[in-house]
């Protein structure tokens, strides 16, 4: 295939996928294990985007912005990364005892403003925003979007270092350790939004294995004034956990922030946060009318088939959107 043809095919693929990407696809990571013993443990993880949990059948998840944190707080490697048609995979060698965090995190700011009588737009990382957009700009409209998708795995005794929150986006501040979940016991989780308790936030927990049952079987909970929920898991298995905060008029949906698509920028990212911005495009399948995750053929520099001209000029809907996704393993008694 010539390069032109490839591009055309890629563009076509994206176009065909338009209606599909409007549905609430779920992003998920599925680990081979969350609780490990032994002197040389590894975990391998599938990362994909699909409707049913946990079946890789639609799109692979991009791993551009994957960060693995070791029990001592240092960065660990995500080895053997690969992306296929339907899923990405990677391995983590658990060389330390304790709890690791495997997270894909994105923070994006979109803004419009007027400078010297000229209408300007900005899309990029929070850091770049702080540097490039004047604080007192006229007609400033800002939309901030954060997404976090994470896993916890423990070798030996669970530890707490990686559970510390960063103060940016919607985060889990576990009360019950996420690698210490057992059927029939109360498990309490606190959610924080930009470092403050996320009160009155709906949280859903959906057990895997959807394909083989008729009902979704989700657990619905709403955080209290301290941002906490308490859950008693009815059955063992892997659970997909999701909470989405939305402020500023956009409807709240399962998955990622609804406005994420509007915040995406097909142009090469500016500033130091290149990876983060590039990954953002792929992390917003729930509401990505033109972008969303693409097949591997559409990846790489150049981003063929991104979006048409004029997409950048859509008005900014000011507000704060943040989503949280995690996969919890619940063991039998």
């Amino acid at each position: 295939m010539t390069r032109t043809l490839k591009l055309a095919v890629a563009a076509l693929t994206v176009t065909i996928c338009l209606p599909l990407t409007l549905q609430a696809h779920r992003q998920w990571m599925l680990p081979s294990a969350t609780i490990l013993s032994g002197n040389d443990p590894w975990v391998t993880v599938d990362a994909a985007i699909s409707n049913d949990l946990f079946y890789f059948e639609h799109f692979p998840m991009r791993l551009d912005n994957l960060v693995v944190t070791a029990p001592d707080g240092t960065a660990a490697k995500a080895e053997n990364q690969g992306t296929g048609r339907y899923r990405s995979t990677f391995d983590v060698h658990l060389t330390q005892k304790g709890t690791y965090k495997l997270a894909i995190v994105n923070h994006t700011v979109a803004a419009s403003y007027t400078a010297n009588g000229e209408a300007k737009t900005f899309r990029g990382s929070p850091d770049a925003f702080a540097k490039e957009v004047p604080a007192g700009a006229a007609d400033l409209k800002v939309s901030r979007t954060s997404s976090r998708n994470e896993l916890f795995v423990t070798s030996g005794r669970p530890t707490e270092t990686v559970l510390k929150t960063t103060g940016l986006g919607l985060e889990l501040a576990p009360v019950t350790h996420p690698n210490d979940l057992v059927v029939g016991e109360d498990a309490t989780f606190a959610f924080v939004l930009d470092g403050k308790p996320a009160a009155n936030l709906p949280v859903t927990l959906i057990p895997g294995g959807i394909r083989y049952r008729d009902s979704l079987g989700e657990i619905k909970a709403t955080t209290d004034k301290d941002g906490k929920i308490t859950v008693k898991f009815p059955a063992p298995g892997m659970y997909w956990v999701n909470a989405t905060f939305s402020e500023g008029g956009a409807p709240r949906r399962e998955g990622n922030p609804p406005s994420a698509a509007a915040d995406m920028d097909p142009r090469p990212a500016r500033g130091p946060n290149v990876g983060a911005e590039a990954a953002t495009q792929e992390q917003a399948p729930a509401a990505a009318p033109a972008g969303g995750p693409r097949g591997p053929q559409a990846q790489g520099p150049g981003r063929p088939g991104g979006r048409g001209p004029g997409m950048d000029n859509r008005p900014i809907v000011p507000g704060r959107r943040a989503s949280y996704i995690a996969t919890f393993e619940v063991l039998p008694q």
Binding site: L36, S37, G38, N39, L331, Q333
Partner: protein, 170 residues
């Protein structure tokens, strides 16, 4: 002379053990499967609210190179969560190799490792077995410590464990 022999031996063995004893008999059942591995087994004592007070035995594949056998210790699921994950294996007087099909009797003496000194009260003996490519089973036997006179209880396991007998001697 022959009829007296067992009595004599029993007398010799039991007389020096003036301190209280706890004896656990574990039957590892024969399981008709094409691929059989000896089970990993953990034996411990806990309070009625399931707090571990003593690890009595952990049978696992100790002899494998590079301690590879520790990889499956987590499959003794409840033991791993309650105490196994806090331990550095092997543990003296506790860990041992996996055992074959048949009956195995373990005797623990008060004041000696691994039983140590147990405060008077209610306890449960817990035996948990997990078998590679097989199942898992956990059995509890409640008892009072110390016993005024010899006390015994028997519980029948269903799959991975056969008959379990706990004997508490004053």
């Amino acid at each position: 002379m022959r009829p007296w022999l067992p009595v004599t031996i029993a007398g010799l063995v039991s007389t020096p053990l003036a301190a209280a004893d706890l004896s656990v008999s574990i039957d590892i059942p024969r399981i008709n499967v094409s691929e059989y591995h000896r089970p990993y087994v953990a034996v411990w004592l806990e309070t009625p609210d399931q707090k571990v007070v003593a690890n009595l035995a952990v049978w696992y594949e100790m002899k494998k190179a590079n301690a590879e056998g520790t990889k499956w210790l987590k499959d003794i699921r409840q033991w791993w969560r309650k105490t196994g994950r806090d331990l550095e294996m092997p543990v003296d007087a506790v860990s041992g190799a996996t055992r074959p099909v048949g009956q195995h009797t373990l005797t623990f003496s008060s004041g000696k490792a691994p039983l140590g000194t147990l405060a008077p009260g209610s306890y449960q003996l817990v035996v948990e077995a997990a078998r590679e490519v097989g199942g898992r089973e956990l059995v509890r036997i409640p008892f009072q410590w110390p016993a005024a006179k010899t006390w015994s209880a028997k519980v029948q396991g269903e799959n991975e464990l056969g008959a379990l007998t706990l004997t508490v001697q004053p």
